[in-house]
Symmetry: C2
Amino acid sequence: MFDYKLLAALAAVVEQGGFERAAQLLGLSQSAVSQRIKLLEARVGQPVLVRAMPPAPTEIGRRLLNHVQQVRLLERDLQGQVPALDDGGLPERLRIALNADSLATWWARALGDFCAEHRLLLDLVVEDQDVGLKRMRAGEVAACVCAAERPVAGARSLPLGAMRYRALASPDFIERHFPLGVQAGSLARIPAIVFGPDDLLQHRYLAQLGVEGGFAHHLCPSSEGFVRLTEAGFGWGLVPELQVQRELASGALVEIIPDLPLDVPLYWHHWRNGGELLTALTEHLHRGVAGWLVKP
Amino acid sequence: MFDYKLLAALAAVVEQGGFERAAQLLGLSQSAVSQRIKLLEARVGQPVLVRAMPPAPTEIGRRLLNHVQQVRLLERDLQGQVPALDDGGLPERLRIALNADSLATWWARALGDFCAEHRLLLDLVVEDQDVGLKRMRAGEVAACVCAAERPVAGARSLPLGAMRYRALASPDFIERHFPLGVQAGSLARIPAIVFGPDDLLQHRYLAQLGVEGGFAHHLCPSSEGFVRLTEAGFGWGLVPELQVQRELASGALVEIIPDLPLDVPLYWHHWRNGGELLTALTEHLHRGVAGWLVKP
């Protein structure tokens, strides 16, 4: 069998983003961690890590991490029955990537009961809905919520429904910039808010209106911050309807063009051999999410 | 004078996190960007970038980026008067690092008017309060909000007041885990929620109670997600009072130990030669923030 001490060192360095933190996590010296990585590389016959800040797995390193992730899930199934097999320390966490807007809205409500019942700890990784799948492919997470349908090799994808977004702004902002309603021609010069370089929702909304190319925008990589900026009149932006039900009802936020939503389908990706816990979580999610997402 | 085409290429590669996106931003081919970086390195006589994913500046690269950031701020002062000097394209954004909890609470309300009035676009970078200063040191941002007081060379720091945190959980969670009140001895085994590896607030709170070492916790790198997880009974965690006034008033969230807040002082760091706009923004912030933060 593989030497899992070595593989655990690799996983810790990548997941913790460095040798120092990996050493803390594993309760080892930094040089011991480094030694294990070197030994792993000697056995594999090639580098498993790119030594940068943070260290990144090589192609073969990614395949090994992917394997570790799946072994961990299988181990978890046994832990209830043979807890003594565990090598001590605190319970492991299930690492899941999801988009910030899901985390800010339906995620906790759909899974709270499940995690309490199964005494499951989560390690959530926020990734834009269009790039979360990279973390699956890299073997860094056990599952992910993202906008891509096609599963990576060894995984399955399950449609969850769509997040409904609305292009919103504060009433003051609308009065200042759109006194005569939205004019597509001038929209590119009126400040928008964009979550980050991977967020293309505002681009898609503008494309719907025939506006192509660049446009003035703030960058704000926080779901809650995005809503606060929109309320405070920094710009207009696409916000999940679920997140601002109160603000829409009170009129603190208003659609810039009435009833022109943008729906983003979301998929749950999980390893096919992910073990019982992941299967149960998948079933729970499938049932629980229906109330929050719309049918695409 | 320096060749700013080359420096702009370096800034774009680092800020966009890669050559491909930098090329898109600059409207160049990827090989042209790569060519400019090589030429810059030939002139400087040493590497300015570590070629990893994402590319990171070397020590000398950081100093150059720091310089670019300051030149951009000085240019901005002139732009109102000599707009034709600008090399075209959309307006530049002011890059500011801040902690997620500030962005989720007071930031937008303290600065909304200022940004609208000065037609200022922001590029916000979320960094944990203890590490935001690294971005200043690296020259990647013009200013930052963080918990460290000591300014980096060339910058000033200004105390803003303190964010007040409270250790909260849902009433159900408290009934399930603390039926007889919080017992310090067992607290480490009851799930907490931690923002990420740099978030030590829960550790500090536990240390106050005499609990040292590891403890069971979820990881959730999103302010809004953190509140949602707390409400849904995933665990207890330290949440900014400002963010959950409604939940505290309604009883949806309750302090696990009555009236035991944790105050985190925040500082505004900005370049000393940052130009008029940054000075005006600093003054506005200083006045505006008083209502939101507590005196440490």
